[in-house]
Amino acid sequence: AAGVIQSPRHLIKEKRETATLKCYPIPRHDTVYWYQQGPGQDPQFLISFYEKMQSDKGSIPDRFSAQQFSDYHSELNMSSLELGDSALYFCASRLTGLSEQYFGPGTRLTVT
C-alpha cells in the first residue's frame, strides 16, 4: 500500500539559509499535518491543511510557512534557519471522515 512520502530524507543547511521540505500524502487523503521533533523530545504539531486551506496552527515559528498544492502535496518552507531548528520533521496525512493519521518517514534537518 502507498505510504506518505517525504523528501529529502536528510538535509544539512547552514545558519541563516533556507530549506524546503516536501510531503506527498497517501492518494485520496485530503488532510496533511506537519510535526517537529527535537532531540529527545516528542513530536510537536506545527500546522495542518485540509483541501489546500490551512486548517490549524500550532507552535510554528513566523520564519516557517507552509502550503498545500492542487495535487495535495505540501511544502514546509523554513527561512533564516537557526541551530535550534535542527530536528526531525514529520508529515502525516489523513482522509476526512477517518481519524487515523499516517506518518511519513521524516526529514532529518541539521543546521550547522
Binding site: 488532510t31 499535518y33 510535526y35 521533533q37 523530545q41 516528542d42 513530536p43 510537536q44 504539531f45 495542518s48 485540509y50 486548517s55 490549524d56 500550532g58 526531525l88 514529520f90 502525516a92 481519524s99 487515523e100 493519521q101 499516517y102 506518518f103 518517514p105 521524516g106 532529518r108
Partner: protein, 110 residues
C-alpha cells in the same frame, strides 16, 4: 490543549519479559494511536485504538475511553522492541490537532 501523560518514562527489560505501558489523557478523544519510534527515528504505527481492545502478534492494546486511559502490552519482549513508544491523541473538539505524550523509552537486554 489536551494533556497526555505516559508512564513509566523509562523501562529496562530482560529479553522474554512482559510489560505494560500506560497513557492517560485529560479529555475525550476521537483518535488514539500508539507508535514505536525505532533507532532511525521512524514512527511505526502500532495501533489505532480510540476505544476497545486490539491485538497484533505479541502486542496488544486496550483503551478505556470513559476513564481516559490506554494500555499497551508487550509480551515476550525481544531486543528489537527497544526504542521509544509514543501515545498520541486527537481531541473530540478538534479534528485538526494531535497531541503526543512524552513517550516511554524501552530497553530490552539480551
Amino acid at each position: 490543549g489536551i494533556q497526555v501523560e505516559q508512564s513509566p518514562p523509562d523501562l529496562i527489560l530482560q529479553e522474554g519479559a512482559n510489560s505494560t505501558l500506560r497513557c492517560n489523557f485529560s479529555d475525550s478523544v476521537n483518535n488514539l494511536q500508539w507508535f514505536h519510534q525505532n533507532p532511525w527515528g521512524q514512527l511505526i504505527n502500532l495501533f489505532y485504538i480510540p476505544s476497545g481492545t486490539k491485538q497484533n502478534g505479541r502486542l496488544s492494546a486496550t483503551t478505556v475511553a470513559t476513564e481516559r486511559y490506554s494500555l499497551l502490552y508487550i509480551s515476550s519482549s525481544q531486543t528489537t522492541d527497544s526504542g521509544v513508544y509514543f501515545c498520541a491523541v486527537g481531541p473530540t473538539y478538534n479534528f485538526n490537532k494531535f497531541y503526543f505524550g512524552s513517550g516511554t523509552k524501552l530497553n530490552v537486554k539480551p
